[in-house]
Symmetry: C2
Subunit: 119 residues, 2 copies
DNA sequence: GATAGATGTTAGGTTAAGTCACATTCACCG
DNA sequence: CGGTGAATGTGACTTAACCTAACATCTATC
């Protein structure tokens, strides 16, 4: 009787399923992995297997990308290095503020532009 | 943004995953399907895809088999035909009584032997 | 207009899964 | 005992899904 409870973290989904669930392409999913943003397991035959948490992460990434962040930015946001140019606090807050993701129509990486309003 | 909520019913698991989750063989899983006990979806390429509910069903089947029921029995238990030789009530109860699945060391189909104790 | 980031696309190779047929095991029954 | 049916194993062969790697494309920035 295997534990079915830890399904959130169990890698049971092949990439095809993840594609459906996230509406990302295989190329994108693999690229994000190459950028160290997701770390699926592998089957004995080297096929990627994802958990539901992985899917959530991918959806987060998708959202952040749509909000104008670069993959490098997102990596920082997810694995906060201590005390970088942009104070972690602000950055953290930005993450939570995903609620107000209206102004997704900018260009360039948000982290390079700073967040403050300087008129 | 696809609905991730209905994961219980969404067919996202390939048979390989189901094998791991249930500890059944592909042969068994396919056979139970042939006996009309599970009905996975199919991908465009004809590969079976299962939901978590399907996995539960398979685990139920596995349990009932271990308890001495035949697949035909189990089919009856799952899709109760009205008013058969064995009163549905008794049968239903047997299902719930899976708690006490001690006496799995019998032979033959339970449904053919009747449940009553006649000394 | 060269560069870097993100993604598309194609080619070639391997694994996972599909069907189908035949073999096996075992309890049952005349 | 020999035959039968239910459940499962196994092998052959085919196809879908996935893998890596390389090269192309698009776009924003310098």
């Amino acid at each position: 009787m295997p534990d079915i409870g830890d399904l959130r973290t169990r890698c049971v989904l092949p990439i095809g399923t993840v594609i459906q669930l996230t509406d990302l392409t295989a190329r994108q999913i693999r690229y994000y992995e190459a950028q160290d943003l997701v770390h699926p397991e592998r089957t004995a035959g080297n096929h990627r297997m994802y958990s539901l948490n992985h899917v959530d992460t991918l959806l987060e990434i998708k959202g952040q990308l749509a909000d104008g962040f670069s993959l490098a930015d997102i990596k920082q946001l997810m694995h906060p290095r201590h005390h970088e140019p942009n104070s972690d606090e602000e950055v953290r807050q930005m993450l939570r503020d995903e609620l107000m993701n209206q102004s997704r129509l900018n260009q360039g990486s948000k982290l390079q532009q700073g967040f403050g309003f300087r008129p």
